[in-house]
């Protein structure tokens, strides 16, 4: 590790409030010049929000940021970069229609009277690209590149921007091992050039391989910042990340002799690698893994929303390949994105509830308004949807109540198997508990439920059985209970199983 004196970036009392949620809570820490500084924490710990404030995408509620001794309060990414911070966002941000070279310099072009001129920036960018991945032709159109190549393009762009601080948010998610090695070499070279790299990753091995210092976040709060040398292995880092969070108490249920209702065998998609499992009647099964581990893909495959190979049998029969078939068979999906995929936000609660099963409220093709109203009122009462009327537009409901309307839709469709993808994302704490109660009540009625979640607390709180996923593979299956080893689970979903095998 190199010796650093000055601070490249420091935050002081930084806070970001969303309605009902404090995403980042009074955070203060310092990042040294010329170091590779890792940020770790569970999903929702506040890392992404912090990054968005550093890069001008979000404005802090209070607190201050200092970059190289100067106050840094960017209002947009351009100002952040002018202040010396370049960012590699999680999602790809390249323009397919332009060439590699044009993308490399996008927003940083040298120009004279509006005309593009060649400059040092171009050369540096192309050189950087050539060192990371010489096979990419600077003149090729970006549309012809693979996802990994696009990622490398973005990395080259950030690396050649001349910024003193480069933030990388999960840069290796789409890269192959060889490409990761090259990326690491580039990051180390940046460090040698006294550039500070802020590195965010869920893959703890990468953190230990690459990082100089680490900052741990938990529940929006800063836990610790210290040199990685002083961290005693994965286990200690995981303990710092999860702390002594009190998990919702799981109550073991008597479902030992239930028969299987769903059998999935050799499920394969572009991401999933041969996943097989079953779900019993009345059981709550949790699928836990990082973003990109394959949770949503499993849910969508079962529901017939995406193509797959392998066999999905429900009640002993193969299901047809469309969501329509799945609904008819008795399967319902509560999708990841409530507003865009789950609800008709421009319609009322009354109109939303029956959409998956309009036949049930109609006679010879004519909708019966009275039966529609009855259905809506029934579910508002059963699920405890807080609303002044069933005529309220669903966009005006809180996140938790919106989610209950989505659940009502599925229940009205008389589903026996509910696939819940991130059921409490963006929902406040009180409503979360209510949704958990609804899920438990449904399971007790004999419904089978699959919960796909990136929140361990949720998985441990309500699921009878837990399936751990890592990069499209089913790593492990375990029964929930008092003796469940949280550190072990986190180890597995962050790639620890492979680590052990090496």
């Amino acid at each position: 590790m190199t010796q650093q004196q000055s601070s490249a970036l420091s935050v002081e009392g930084l806070t970001k409030d969303y309605p009902g949620v404090r995403a980042v809570d009074n955070v203060s820490f310092t990042i040294k010049q010329g170091a590779i500084h890792c940020l770790v924490g569970e999903n929702g710990a506040g890392k992404s929000t912090l990054v968005k404030m550093l890069t001008g995408v979000l404005q802090p509620t209070s607190g201050s940021i200092t970059v190289a001794g100067r106050r840094h309060c960017p209002r947009n990414p351009q100002e952040a970069r002018d202040g010396g911070i370049a960012t590699l966002f999680q999602e790809l941000h390249v323009v397919d229609e332009l060439t590699v070279k044009e993308n490399l310099t996008l927003g940083m072009e040298a120009s004279r009277f509006g005309f593009l001129v060649n400059s040092k920036t171009d050369e540096v960018a192309i050189e950087t690209l050539a060192t990371i991945e010489p096979s990419i032709d600077p003149e090729a159109r970006v549309a012809s590149l693979s996802v990994a190549q696009k990622q490398i393009l973005e990395i080259s762009r950030a690396a050649s921007s001349g910024a003193s601080v480069i933030i990388m948010d999960e840069p290796t998610a789409a890269l192959s091992e060889r490409e990761v090695e090259r990326l690491f070499a580039v990051i180390r070279r940046l460090r040698d050039a006294n550039v500070t790299v802020v590195y965010i990753s869920h893959k703890l091995d990468e953190i230990f391989e690459l990082g100089d210092d680490v900052t741990v976040f938990r529940d929006g709060k800063h836990i610790v910042t210290k040199p990685l040398d002083e961290v005693d292995g994965r286990q200690q880092l995981i303990e710092l990340m999860i702390g002594r969070t009190v998990f919702q108490q799981y109550e073991p249920r008597d479902i030992a002799d239930a028969e299987p209702i769903l059998q999935v065998e050799h499920l394969k998609t572009s991401l999933l690698k041969d996943v097989s499992f079953h779900v019993n009647k009345g059981e709550v099964v949790g699928f836990y893994g990082l973003v990109g581990a394959g949770k949503t893909e499993i849910a969508r495959a079962i529901y017939g929303a995406d193509k797959f190979s392998g066999s999905v049998r429900f009640n002993g029969k193969e299901i047809g390949p469309t969501p329509h078939d799945a609904i008819a068979a008795g399967i319902a999906l509560v999708p990841e994105e409530r507003r865009t995929q789950g609800l008709f936000t421009n319609l009322t609660i009354r109109e939303n509830v029956p959409v998956m099963n309009l036949e049930k409220i109609s006679t010879t093709g004519m909708l019966s308004p009275s039966r529609e109203r009855q259905a809506a009122e029934h579910f508002v009462a059963q699920l405890g949807i807080a609303t002044s009327s069933i005529e309220k537009h669903t966009e005006k409901l809180s996140g938790g109540n919106q989610q209950k309307v989505v659940l009502a839709k599925c229940l009205f469709a008389e589903a026996d198997l509910l696939l819940l993808d991130e059921p409490t994302r963006g929902v406040d704490v009180g409503a979360k508990t209510e949704i958990y109660d609804v899920i438990k009540a449904l399971a007790n009625e004999g419904k089978s439920i699959c919960v796909f979640s990136t929140e361990l607390e949720e998985i441990l709180g309500i699921c009878d059985r837990i399936i751990l996923l890592y990069e499209g593979m089913l790593e492990e299956e375990l029964l929930n209970g008092e003796d469940v080893d949280i550190a072990h689970i986190l180890n597995v979903v962050t790639g620890g199983a492979e680590h052990k095998g090496q």
Partner: protein
């Protein structure tokens, strides 16, 4: 053009053919149309006399009539590349025509009338741009609004009981008014045509060599990426609407000169022609892709078809034929480009 794909040596023949078709299909279509129209009108013993499509008089005539759409095609392409659209171009053209004719008939000298009309174009374009960028109105709706507004103003500027601003009632159009659109200055082609060529050359340079051209493609291709890269999309979009406004004004000047009057309805339907021409040139409706030169060629094709068929088929078949050509072009373009991408 600037998207040359390297290593053609190692690619198989079919892929190279596909690439060739993608790059040059618009020129092939132009040649095809010209050949078909010539063969259909062939007068074997009198190659350069009336009746033959390739008759120089005929060509000159087509190019003269085409000046307005040729002027407009390039700017419209850049705007569509940025993922925006301007439905008010026809009305802006009409308004410019009326303004230009009013100035001319009231004794304002050529250069001044010309300059003032261009300023009007800047204004009209800026209004569109501000509606889209500042009031955040969807481009289609914003420019549908100004389509009505601009046309309304154009109609108001013409006195009651008269259909257009023209000689009569003691006022007379000056001689230069008509010359601009009709009298040959070079190769027997009038100023209006050469202005269209100059505008197109300028816009090809803008597209390939300037920040504006590159950022237009970035904004249209991936708005989020553009914003996060620090591209000031708002400035780009306003500027592009202004460029379209100026082109519409120049098109209005060309049209009114050619017709010798300031007709408040002269630009009607121009927005659809512009969209047709640009799409025929291979511009993506969703933005990101498109070349100024190809739209120019697209405009030539449409105009050759429209005018060339006058002698062949009854006028009421024209729209149908133009639609068919566009359908074939769109379908083949789609097929070729789908094969080409991985």
């Amino acid at each position: 053009m600037s998207y040359s794909i390297s290593k053609t040596r190692h690619t198989p023949f079919s892929a190279r053919l596909g690439q060739f078709l993608r790059d040059y299909y618009i020129y092939l279509v132009l040649i095809l149309v010209v050949v078909l129209l010539s063969v259909a009108n062939l007068d074997r013993f009198d190659l350069f006399e009336r009746g033959n499509f390739l008759n120089p008089k005929n060509i000159v005539n087509i190019l003269r009539v085409s000046a307005p759409i040729l002027t407009l095609a390039g700017a419209f392409t850049l705007l569509m590349v940025s993922g925006h659209i301007d439905l008010s171009v026809g009305s802006a053209m009409s308004l410019a025509a009326v303004v230009y004719a009013s100035l001319a008939i009231n004794g304002v000298p050529f250069l001044m009338a010309f300059g003032l009309t261009v300023v009007v174009g800047v204004l009209l374009g800026a209004i569109n741009g501000l509606l889209v960028v500042k009031l955040k109105i969807t481009p289609v709706i914003a420019t549908l609004i100004t389509l009505s507004l601009y046309k309304g103003v154009a109609l108001l500027m013409v006195q009651d009981g008269v259909s257009a601003i023209k000689s009569g009632g003691g006022l007379k159009m000056p001689g230069w008014f008509n010359d601009y659109g009709r009298s040959g200055v070079l190769l027997n082609l009038p100023m209006a045509f050469w202005v269209a060529v100059l505008v197109t050359i300028a816009l090809i340079v803008v597209q390939n060599k300037t920040l504006l051209g590159k950022h237009a493609a970035a904004v249209g291709g991936n708005p989020t990426a553009a914003r996060l890269s620090g591209v000031s999309s708002n400035k780009i979009v306003i500027l592009l609407y202004v460029v379209v406004g100026v082109s519409a004004a120049l098109a209005g000047i060309a049209r009114s000169s050619f017709m010798s009057l300031g007709d408040p309805l002269s630009g009607d339907g121009m927005e659809l022609t512009a969209i047709l021409v640009v799409l025929l040139g291979g511009t993506a409706f969703s933005g990101g892709e498109g070349r100024v030169l190809r739209s120019f060629i697209g405009a030539l094709i449409i105009m050759a078809l429209t005018v060339g068929m006058l002698t062949l088929v009854p006028a009421y078949y024209q729209t149908l034929v133009v639609g068919t050509v566009l359908l074939i072009a769109a379908a083949s373009n789609h097929l070729v480009s789908r094969k080409g991408s991985k």
